[in-house]
C-alpha cells in the first residue's frame, strides 16, 4: 500500500473582515436614508439622482463581502449555497416576470415594485433552497 506523508492541517480561507452584519446594515441604512431623502427632493433633479445612487457603493461593498464570505466557506458549504441559489435565482426571475405580467394584465397595486415588498418574495425561495440543501447533507 502506497503511503503519503501525514498532512498538515489545511488552512481555511480567511472570512470577510467586514463582518456579516456591518455591511448589510450600512446598506440598509443608506437605502433608508436615500428613500426618505428623496421625498423632500424634486424628482429629476441632480440632487435626487445623487441621493438615489447613494446606496450603490455600499451595495458594491456588500457584493464584495458576500463573494469573500463564499470563498471562505468549505467545499460542502459552497455546494449547499449553490443549491440554495439554484432554487432562489430562477424563483426570483419567476416572481419578477410574473409580477410584471400581472401588472400588464391590470392587477396593479400601489408600491408593487417597492424593494421592501419584493425582498421577502426573493429571499423566501433562497431560504427554502437552503433548508432543503442543508437537510440533504445533514
Amino acid at each position: 500500500m502506497a503511503t503519503h506523508p501525514t498532512a498538515e492541517p489545511m488552512p481555511r480561507s480567511r472570512a470577510s473582515r467586514s463582518g456579516p452584519i456591518l455591511v448589510p446594515l450600512l446598506f440598509v441604512l443608506a437605502y433608508l436614508a436615500a428613500r426618505f431623502g428623496l421625498e423632500s427632493l424634486r424628482p429629476g433633479s441632480m440632487a435626487a439622482l445623487l441621493v438615489a445612487l447613494l446606496p450603490v457603493p455600499l451595495f458594491a461593498w456588500l457584493l464584495v463581502s458576500v463573494v469573500r464570505g463564499v470563498r471562505a466557506l468549505d467545499e460542502l458549504e459552497r455546494r449547499i449555497q449553490l443549491e440554495a441559489m439554484a432554487v432562489a435565482y430562477p424563483s426570483a426571475l419567476l416572481i419578477v416576470f410574473s409580477a410584471g405580467l400581472l401588472n400588464l394584465a391590470g392587477f396593479r397595486g400601489e408600491g408593487d415594485w417597492d424593494p421592501p415588498r419584493l425582498l421577502p418574495l426573493i429571499f423566501l425561495p433562497y431560504w427554502l433552497g437552503l433548508a432543503l440543501a442543508r437537510r440533504r447533507y445533514a
Binding site: M1, H4, P5, T6, A7, P9, R12, E75, L76, Y137
Partner: protein, 69 residues
C-alpha cells in the same frame, strides 16, 4: 463510492470535529463524507488520504464498473 473515513478516524480515536479541524473543513463536511451523502473533491480526498497516511484509493473505494453482457 465506498468511504473508509469513519473507520480510519475511529482507529485514531479522533472525533469528527477533530478531523474537520485537521482538514480545515466543517464537521458537517466530515459527517456527510462518512455517511456517503457527499463525495469530496479530488484535493480534499487527497488531503484526507495524506492525513491518514494512506493512498487515496485505500480511503475511497470506487464501485466496480458495470460490464456489458
Amino acid at each position: 463510492m465506498e468511504s473508509r473515513v469513519r473507520v480510519l478516524r475511529v482507529e485514531r480515536n479522533w472525533t469528527q470535529a477533530e478531523l474537520a479541524e485537521r482538514l480545515g473543513v466543517s464537521r458537517q463536511t466530515v459527517n456527510s463524507i462518512e455517511t456517503r451523502k457527499y463525495e469530496p473533491s479530488l484535493s480534499l480526498a487527497f488531503a484526507i488520504a495524506r492525513l491518514f497516511g494512506c493512498a487515496v484509493e485505500d480511503v475511497f473505494i470506487p464501485p466496480e464498473p458495470e460490464r456489458s453482457a
